[in-house]
């Protein structure tokens, strides 16, 4: 969904080089598809690396627009993740821990942004939060607030698209967690809020973390909903994926560089976070 691919870039030449070193006791019906799957995921990245204009890389990176877009991407993806945590964790809790009529329907609705083409999501956001939207027109009239074409609009678009990843992960973690710990806490006099804060949340922390990572990654790569809802203006709403897309129109090489920057930064951050969690648990 968020894989960066240049159209028909670098057909794989270096396929499956290291397949020989698999110990004999591993079951090949698993190992072969696994390696193919890995190659499928990694080869497009290799394509980017092979085609990257390494000689002009430093001067391209020094362009202020690149850093501006990168900064905006990191900031908005992080804020969007925070928004998703703030709203998504309670939503997941509601879905996993309470019974109410229409819960199945609500759960299905939560996944809508996953299925919806992001561009359509962006249009839908405009229809609700846009200047003439259902809520947007009221926001504008009452507070003079208009979300489209603002950095806040970018956060809204990213959060909209990324929230299901968080909700689904956290709900899964909640369902897997033993609810009897919560009962034990209740017998000790803890209110539901205390139970959630001191027992539930710490126990599902790995699930929340995983969900937040997915959410952040999805927000970082978000393109369709962002450009449709928030538009594209350097410094305000032009995130890296937007910059990449537009660079692709005229300078495919620049697009490759920007993609690599985005990839490198996200890989470094995710790997760093993972280290920390793994060592903590």
């Amino acid at each position: 969904m968020t894989t960066a691919t240049t159209p028909a870039s670098a057909p794989g030449r270096a396929s499956g080089r290291e397949r020989g070193g698999v110990p004999g006791r591993l079951p090949w019906p698993l190992v072969i598809p696994a390696l193919l799957g890995l190659a499928f995921l990694v080869l497009p990245l290799a394509g980017l690396l092979v085609r990257a204009p390494w000689s002009t890389l430093p001067q391209r990176l020094a362009e202020p627009q690149v850093l501006q877009a990168l900064r905006l991407s990191l900031v908005t993806a992080t804020i969007a993740t925070a928004v998703c945590l703030l709203l998504g964790v309670p939503l997941a809790w509601l879905l996993a821990r309470t019974a109410f009529p229409g819960r199945r329907l609500i759960r299905a609705l939560v996944t809508v942004p996953l299925v919806l083409p992001p561009v359509v999501g962006g249009v839908a956001l405009l229809l609700v939060l846009g200047r003439r939207g259902l809520i947007g027109s009221w926001l504008e009239a009452a507070f003079g607030v208009s979300l489209p074409f603002t950095t806040a609009g970018v956060v809204v678009a990213e959060a909209f698209v990324a929230m299901p990843f968080l909700v689904i992960s956290v709900e899964g973690a909640l369902r897997a967690a033993d609810a009897r710990f919560e009962e034990a806490a209740a017998t000790l006099g803890a209110s539901r809020w205390t139970v959630f804060r001191r027992v539930t949340l710490p126990m599902i922390a790995p699930g929340v973390a995983a969900g937040a990572v997915l959410c952040w990654a999805r927000a970082l790569g978000e393109f369709g909903a962002t450009i449709t809802f928030a538009g594209n203006f350097p410094g305000t709403t032009q995130t890296m994926p937007l910059a990449v897309y537009l660079a692709l129109e005229t300078e495919p090489e620049a697009a490759v560089v920007l993609s690599l920057v985005l990839l490198a930064v996200s890989v470094v951050i995710l790997a760093g976070l993972r280290e920390r969690w793994v060592s903590r648990i």
Binding site: T2, T3, A4, T6, P7, A8, S9, P117, V119, V120, V123, A124, L126, L127, G130, R131, R132, P148, F149, G221, F223, G224, I227, T228, A230, G231, N232, F233, P234, T237, Q238, P241, L242, V244, Y245, L246, A247, L248, E249, T250, P252, S259
Partner: protein, 262 residues
């Protein structure tokens, strides 16, 4: 993260059609006919997104004149299409929205001697009712007026820059959209007060946007070149389609869609 423009525009158009409940006529991304028989011949045309309406119609005419032939269209951003062609996409004909994108293909020796078959000029598009009261190009420089332009990287954006420069105007848009359809969408939804789009795009809005002509548009006329590709798999069919586009009939169809024809 980025997908071919054609699918993009189609999704946008579909969404608009769906949410507005109005038949604004989402253009099909490809006009395909079922293969007529074993010896059916197939023609693949890569064309700029703004040609969607006119070329779909021309495809129908071409099929009628060449029974048993299938015409496939790949509509998208000219730059993306040019890139796909240079990367080896099996195209027979390329119709671009700018000479620059065509040049990518001719430089790669994949086409020779492109012909300019249509011209497009810019228009100011305003939402129905023109809430900001925009009459002429200089109104766009008013900081109170929210303006959407195409990004400078795409032909309609380049044209807009040229037109504004010619008029000596400083316009700060709220957004630089990735293509002309997306720009027009912002107008249709009333998110911006004005935008610079191609004249051919305004009729496609189904009345939700109104076009205003302005004299400075003459300084930013966009030429549309077409060429049969040297390695066209369909061989002579490619040339025949180009001929149809350049014919009297072809010119009529293009003119009807709002293009200026040479």
């Amino acid at each position: 993260m980025f997908r071919p423009l054609s699918r993009w525009t189609a999704a946008l158009a579909l969404a608009l059609a769906a949410v507005s409940g109005c038949g604004s006529g989402g253009p099909a991304t490809s006009a395909t006919a079922p293969a007529a028989g074993g010896d059916a011949r197939q023609l693949t045309v890569f064309a700029a997104a703004s040609l969607t309406g006119a070329f779909t119609e021309l495809g129908r005419i071409f099929k009628d004149a060449h029974p048993g032939t299938t015409v496939m269209f790949n509509f998208g951003s000219s730059a993306t299409l040019a890139q796909q062609i240079t990367q080896g996409a099996p195209a027979d004909v390329f119709a671009a929205a700018s000479p620059a994108t065509m040049k990518t293909v001719t430089d790669a020796a994949l086409a020779t001697a492109p012909t300019t078959f249509a011209r497009n000029r810019l228009r100011i598009a305003v939402p129905a009712g023109n809430p900001a009261g925009v009459d002429e190009l200089k109104d766009l420089a008013d900081p109170e007026v929210k303006v959407a332009l195409c990004a400078a990287q795409v032909p309609c954006g380049a044209a807009a820059v040229k037109a504004l420069e010619a008029a000596g105007l400083e316009v700060t848009p709220v957004t630089l959209e990735q293509d002309v359809k997306a720009t027009l969408t912002k107008v249709e939804l009333g998110e911006v007060d004005a935008a610079l789009v191609y004249a051919t795009d305004v009729p496609a809005s189904g009345g939700k946007a109104t076009g205003i002509d302005f004299p400075e548009a003459d300084k930013a006329i966009n030429d549309y070149p077409i060429a049969a590709l040297t390695e066209a798999p369909a061989g002579p069919l490619a040339r025949q389609f180009v001929d149809l586009v350049l014919s009297r009939q072809g010119r009529d169809v293009l003119a009807e869609a709002g293009f200026q024809v040479p």
